[in-house]
């Protein structure tokens, strides 16, 4: 190869690399600009200024009147702490119960030998093909007819029909997740079986083995399932829209509709959006690797 040719090739390479860099930066701007705008606009207290700022780069710069009034406005307009609390309760309850129920099922379906096991596993895997949208409407029909029993010291045991407008209607239908069970089964199968047999011969019960031998070794799959449960629960919309009717029980995403009643104040809307999004984004940036790997895991089931 002559020196001339090499120089041309290096030149080509340089053009290619800089084109690539320009494209990557352009795309980064495309993905970031709405989010940057949301966050910056949430501090702009003058609504007219905010609305005219979109005509220039000022939309992304903290200029003009700045302050926390929009956040104050959010708390005046809606019971935001209540919405956030509701979302936290339902999300964490689903994550915790989901981890327990799905990992126990995954354990029974991978490390125990019992008749009916393969049938149960097949049925659970088969349900993966049913999207939630298919069953949402009939599920609504089911939950408004289910009984609920609870205990209060004043009235004793109480029985009530219908699950609408409760925390448990937002939690229990999402505790079991066929994909989580599948992930646990795959992971548990990869752990050596000698652990169980040694512990069995020592007289440990199956539950003890699950608790003390298997779960302590399952950190990665627990993290994956927790993340895959957390995100859709925090972001839930369709189901809580149908089953919640009061502010006392509504989660953050359904709470958004209150901002479009009466006068629409975009500054306040941006403040509320930032309030419910930024914590998740921070969590994502901190646990980036775990998030990306978990979500990628949901893509390799094929």
């Amino acid at each position: 190869m002559s020196r001339m040719q090499r120089r041309v090739q290096q030149g080509d390479e340089r053009v290619f690399l800089s084109l690539r860099a320009v494209l990557m930066i352009g795309l980064a701007i495309l993905f970031l600009f709405p989010i940057v705008f949301m966050f910056v606009a949430s501090f702009k207290t003058d609504e007219t200024e905010l609305l005219t700022s979109v005509r220039s780069v000022e939309a992304f710069l903290p200029v003009g009147q700045l302050g926390l009034e929009n956040y104050q406005g959010v708390f005046d307009r809606v019971p935001a702490p209540q919405f956030i609390f509701n979302s936290l309760i339902t999300t964490f309850a689903t994550v915790i119960l989901g981890l327990i129920v799905n990992s126990m099922a995954g354990f029974a379906l991978s490390r125990l030998h019992w008749r009916g096991r393969d049938g149960v596993l097949t049925v659970i895997i088969a349900t993966l093909i049913v999207p939630f949208e298919t069953i949402a409407i009939p599920l609504l029909f089911v939950v408004i007819r289910l009984p609920w029993i609870w205990f209060s010291p004043e009235t004793g045991l109480q029985l009530e029909w219908g699950w609408l407008n409760t925390y448990h209607v937002q939690v229990l239908p999402f505790v079991v997740n066929a994909f989580s069970i599948f992930l646990f089964v795959q992971y548990f199968k990869s752990l050596p079986i000698d652990f169980d047999e040694a512990a069995r011969v020592d007289g440990a019960s199956w539950f003890a083995i699950y608790r003390r031998v298997i779960l302590p070794l399952s950190g990665p799959v627990i993290a994956t399932v927790a993340i895959l449960t957390f995100l859709p629960m925090w972001n839930a919309y369709l189901w809580p829209l149908m089953v919640t009717q009061t502010e006392a029980i509504r989660p953050v995403m359904v709470g958004l509709q209150y901002f479009f009643q009466l006068n629409v104040a975009w500054g306040e809307i941006m403040a509320y959006l930032s309030l419910i999004t930024v914590p998740v984004l921070v969590l994502f940036l901190l646990l980036q690797r775990a998030f990306v790997e978990s979500i990628a895991a949901s893509g390799v089931k094929g």
Binding site: L30, M104, A108, L109, W114, G116, R117, V176, I269, L273
Partner: protein, 371 residues
Amino acid sequence: MSAPAAPARAPRTAAVAHRGDAKWGWLMAGPAIVLVITFLIAPFVMAFWLSLTNARLISPNAPEFTGADNFTRLLGVQLLTLDPERDAAGAIVLDEAGAPSYPSIRSFTRNKETFPQYAGMQEWFTVGLGDTRHVVLASDTVFMKSLVNTIAFAIVIVPLQSAFGLLLALLVNRRTRGVNAFRTIYFIPVVMSMVVISILWKFLYSPNEGMVNSFFSAITLGAFQSVDWLGNPTTALPAVMFMSMWQAVGFHMIIWLSGLQTIPPELYEAAGLDGAGRVAAFRNVTWPGLRNTSVFILITITIAAFGLFTQIDVMTRGGPLDATSTVVYQAVQQGFRTQDMGYGAAISVVFFVLVLIVALIQRRLTREARG
């Protein structure tokens, strides 16, 4: 006791090890089994049963079996051929503007005695061939439009989103520090709520204070005429398509990326030695290596596209003129908002059939891929 003892011992250990498995198996899988039956299998079976009844969401009356009524109401389609009106001499009657005049569609759809097959239907669309008009009538024109919108959404989204996802994956498929930051940025919308994103984009698309209009106006030096992106029936669905891709493409970038990383680097080295350029290396090494990934990506995008709901509910409520209504949106409108459970369930069943068809195609394709 050496030779016979060894094989005899192993099964005994296994027998000890697995004593009581059945009890513990059912006990530990029990909660999951009960929940799957209650919240997945029961509603799924009920969707089929409810779709054959006139059940209401809340009603003192027990649902009555109505057979295929819901499906006829949902999917009923008739072709009506209209010839221009002619006078006694057989010449076409022209109206004041000089156009041929036709019998009104209502004279067919509101005439139960003579035309029971057209009763209650509405015009879905009309094709004119020569002087004859072919009118396609549907019993539920809104659902028909929703079905078409849903399929159109999928047909546009599937190739575009997978191609952009692959482009992003190729851009960030390097293990350098800087590149990692870009990967993270492209992925951010995936962890955000679709509701939040829909509201953001609703604002960006708005006719007066929308950033999309100001952007186009700035790059054309003011020549661009402001568009009401979500308020115009021709731009509303494309606008929803764009923001949906913006949200989800990072997810498919990650899946493509994991596919790319299964391709052994030696293949690229070999291609390089053979003098293959970037394009040739992509054609002969990268693309064949991504076969399984691509099938998976096509299927996940298709099924997600069929489920289009949140964006529509938040941004357009199906409008303008039903231009963005979708199958799932109609299921929620009918089954929940108008409490017509039987009809909503029928829509859910149709939706499931759509998904099932896609899943069967996936099985075909993956089987072919495996040889």
